[in-house]
Amino acid sequence: MVKLIIDSQSVEAEETWTVLEAARYYGIDIPTLCYYEGLSPTSSCRLCVVEVIRGGRSRLTASCSMPVQEGIEVRTNSERVRKARKVIIELLLASCPNSRTLQCLASKYGVTKIRFKPEDRGCILCGLCVRMCEEQMQAGAIGFVYRGVDREVAMPFHTRHEACRECGACQFICPVCEMPCQGPMQPGQLCNACLDAVQLEAFPSKD
């Protein structure tokens, strides 16, 4: 067992656990997007960042892949974490403005404005579908192509590949190909309809 501190509580965790697993075991909420139990973590969305203090030095780290370590202190809801989370949600919303998952995250974590230029790409490049297809369905029919801002998910040479059995697992796991948010907003704007309700639930003490 490893002893560590998460949000001022001293806790014990299995050596094989990640910080995210430990936090969830103790009922501490950390938002995630690209993480999915049973798939290998890639730590690409960075939504799960937490502040890790070790040897007096603090830094933000993705909790979904970081193994627990003896003696570290983890803060899942510090000022720095909240600020980073909000900007990440804001950035994601600019790339997928109608996603219900993202709209809900915005309300829950208090994102009330999008200051970035929206450009709907219909995909947040979390890579869940790619890993699902390869690791669980054993098909490997889709993958990432191109680099940088042009990155996208595709089949080889953009044609349907025989490796794809049309099982639909990719659609099942995708956090953004779903019914769009039914909120009252115009396209490209924030819904925030349930802002107060979920905010109260997420941060009862209203810090």
């Binding site: 973590p41 890639t42 730590s43 690409s44 969305c45 960075r46 939504l47 960042v49 830094r59 933000l60 993705a62 892949s65 970081m66 193994p67 720095r80 600020k83 980073a84 900007v87 990440i88 950035l91 994601l92 600019a94 790339s95 200051r115 970035f116 230029k117 450009e119 947040i124 490049l125 890579g127 990432f144 191109y146 680099r147 940088g148 801002v149 042009d150 990155r151």
Partner: protein, 619 residues
């Protein structure tokens, strides 16, 4: 050639090479580096060789094509030994005279010598040329004595002596201790102490006995070519460094990762590897020491992000060159999940030097925390473009003005960019900053791998920030959100500002975004991507504000913010501008004042350059 099986045999071989060379009275080294290559040095080399053969002096004159000599501005370059005569900007027509007068008689041809820009006096010797005089060329100076395709040249320069010392006189841990004492820090960017990495990799347990040492020759910074010039011009120096490191670490296999845009580097490297293998400096039981080691070359696709350690390893493994999280260090699980140590080309090149002369002497050069020398590729608005190697601790001012000869065309210096896309722009007021890992970091830039871009008053600092962000938008791997989406939004904002649509709120947003990118990006690329923006915002904020509030670009770069017109009082009607304008936007009769039609004007500024009377006004 039979394999060399002991240090004594190596010395014998070396002496034989030196004896063979005693017959040469003169050696001409023609630079074949990237700069001179572009100036047709190959043809000159062939012509010199032919001419020497023709007049029957090939027995007494050695003609050698080498790697980069550094002073690329003056290419094609030739150095003639033993006199040390330095010729620059030579052409095919000069060849007969060079052969007849210099190679035969040792005379210097005045018109081919470098003329000092201040005194206008011709300088004969390379070592007296101001560009070289202030440098400390511990690594680069060997280039001109070496034909990279001939291992004998390297041996003639005392090559592989450090390897012999390491293998036969030192314990592996002693090697690491020596490198530690020398204070060698990684030249690839972050300046991490090399010995700490080596020690961690030595300690790591290799389950199947295999450990790797890698050499990072990805060199993706725009304008940088020092790693290329070292590896291409003196490959054995890097191989020797890797051999010593591998012995210290206990590695048995090595890889050199080079981008495919460097075909000549790859070619020279493969030849060098073959020759080293042939004589027994690579392979099994090297020099009879019992140490086995070999090196492979891995050719990358030329992505900037593949310079990042984990992306580089993924690329060597044949996977997409994408970084991964490093909760387990690559020293323990790197390439093919085995313990791996990665160093930059220049870092490896320093190792033989440290072993040969010892840490104490090595440390004498440089500063307390940054020892030795650093090679920079000095480019941009500078008189003496080229590769310069200086002791750490030299100030930026000395490099730019004393070695680089300052800014050309009477323009005013504005800033110097170091550290490539991860670095920052340093203003004139901080020119006395020494080149030192920590000092550069403190002023908001970094050493980086050695790119040094000089900018003058015609460079717009907002546009420069936009340029680097644009570069990174393409060069980020796109895996993680803060880097990929953050860069994209940063580019939108900077485009707004350079096109006159910006607002002051956006400056705050830039800073907030920059902080989150630094804090949360997965790899070093995203973590440092905002540096060019932050440093220009810090030192040149007034330029940003001018763009936003006054819709003005003082450098005259941001086209939507500038306009051209002709001052009728000054215009003589010479028609030069009218003829020069590529889109026919200028109207006017001979000897009458001309007018620019704004609706047609493309704002290219050609008329501005063409007018001899200063009548074209740029606002």
């Amino acid at each position: 050639m039979a394999k060399i099986k002991s240090p004594a045999m190596l010395e014998e071989y070396r002496n034989e090479i030196l004896r063979k060379r005693e017959r040469y009275t003169r050696v001409i080294s023609l630079c074949g580096g990237p700069g001179c290559h572009a100036q047709h040095c190959n043809e000159i080399y062939e012509a010199v060789k032919k001419a020497v053969e023709k007049n029957g002096s090939s027995e007494s004159v050695m003609v050698r094509k080498t790697g980069c000599h550094g002073f690329c501005e003056m290419g094609p370059i030739a150095v003639i030994q033993p006199e040390g005569i330095f010729y620059c900007k030579i052409s095919l027509e000069d060849v007969p005279e060079i052969v007849e007068r210099t190679l035969e008689k040792g005379e210097a041809i005045e018109r081919l010598l470098y003329s000092d820009p201040e005194s206008e006096k011709a300088i004969i010797k390379e070592s007296k040329v101001p560009f070289y005089a202030k440098q400390k060329r511990l690594l680069m100076s060997m280039n001109e004595h070496i034909d990279p395709g001939n291992i004998e040249d390297y041996l003639a320069q005392g090559g592989y002596r450090a390897l012999v010392k390491a293998l036969f006189e030192m314990e592996p841990l002693e090697i690491i201790d020596e490198v530690d004492k020398a204070g060698l820090r990684g030249r690839g960017g972050a300046g991490f102490p090399a010995a700490s990495k080596w020690r961690a990799c030595r300690k790591a347990i290799a389950r199947d006995g295999i450990k790797y040492v890698l050499c990072n020759a990805d060199e993706g910074d725009p304008g940088a070519y020092m790693d290329r010039s070292l590896l291409e011009g003196n490959p054995h120096l890097v191989l020797e460094g890797m051999l010593i490191g591998a012995y210290g670490i206990g590695a048995t296999e090595g890889y050199i990762y080079v981008r495919h845009e460097y075909p000549l580097t790859v070619e020279n490297l493969l030849i060098a590897l073959d020759q080293a293998r042939e004589v027994g400096l690579l392979g099994k039981n090297i020099l009879g020491s019992g140490f086995d080691f070999d090196i492979k070359v891995s050719i990358g696709g030329g992505a900037f992000v593949c310079g990042e350690s984990t992306a580089l390893m993924a690329s060597i493994e044949g996977r997409i060159g994408e970084p991964r999280v490093k909760h387990i260090h690559t020293a323990e699980r790197g390439l093919f999940n085995r313990p791996t140590n990665l160093n930059n080309v220049e870092t490896w090149a320093n190792v033989p030097l440290i072993i040969n002369q010892g840490a104490v002497k090595y440390r004498k050069i440089g500063t307390k925390t940054s020892t030795g020398t650093k090679i920079f590729s000095l480019v941009g608005s500078i008189n003496n473009t080229g590769l310069v190697e200086v002791p750490m601790g030299m100030t930026l001012r000395e490099i730019i003005f004393d070695i680089g000869g300052g800014v050309p065309k009477g323009r005013k210096f504005k800033a110097v960019q170091t550290g490539g896309p991860s670095g920052g722009c340093i203003p004139e007021s901080l020119l006395d900053t020494p080149v030192d890992f920590d000092a550069l970091y403190d002023v908001g830039s970094m050493m980086g791998s050695g790119g040094m871009i000089v900018m003058d008053e015609t460079t717009c600092m907002v546009d420069i920030a936009r340029y680097f962000v644009d570069f990174l938008c393409d060069e980020s791997c796109g895996k993680c959100v803060p880097c990929r989406e953050g860069l994209k939004q940063m580019l939108f904002i900077l485009e707004d500002i350079t096109q006159g649509r910006g607002s002051l709120d956006q400056l705050e947003l830039l800073k907030e975004l920059a902080e989150v990118m630094r804090d949360t990006s997965l790899c070093g690329l995203g973590q440092t991507a905002a540096n060019p923006v932050l440093s220009t915002l810090h030192y040149f904020e007034e330029e940003y504000i001018e763009h936003i509030k006054k819709k003005k670009c003082r450098a005259g770069v941001c086209k939507p913010l500038i306009s051209f017109s002709i001052n009728a009082k000054k215009c003589t009607g010479c028609m030069a501008c009218r003829k020069a304008c590529p889109v026919g936007a200028i109207k006017g009769k001979k000897k009458e004042a001309h007018v620019i039609q704004p609706e047609k004007c493309e704002k290219c500024g050609i008329c501005f350059e063409a007018c001899k009377y200063g009548a074209v006004v740029r606002k």
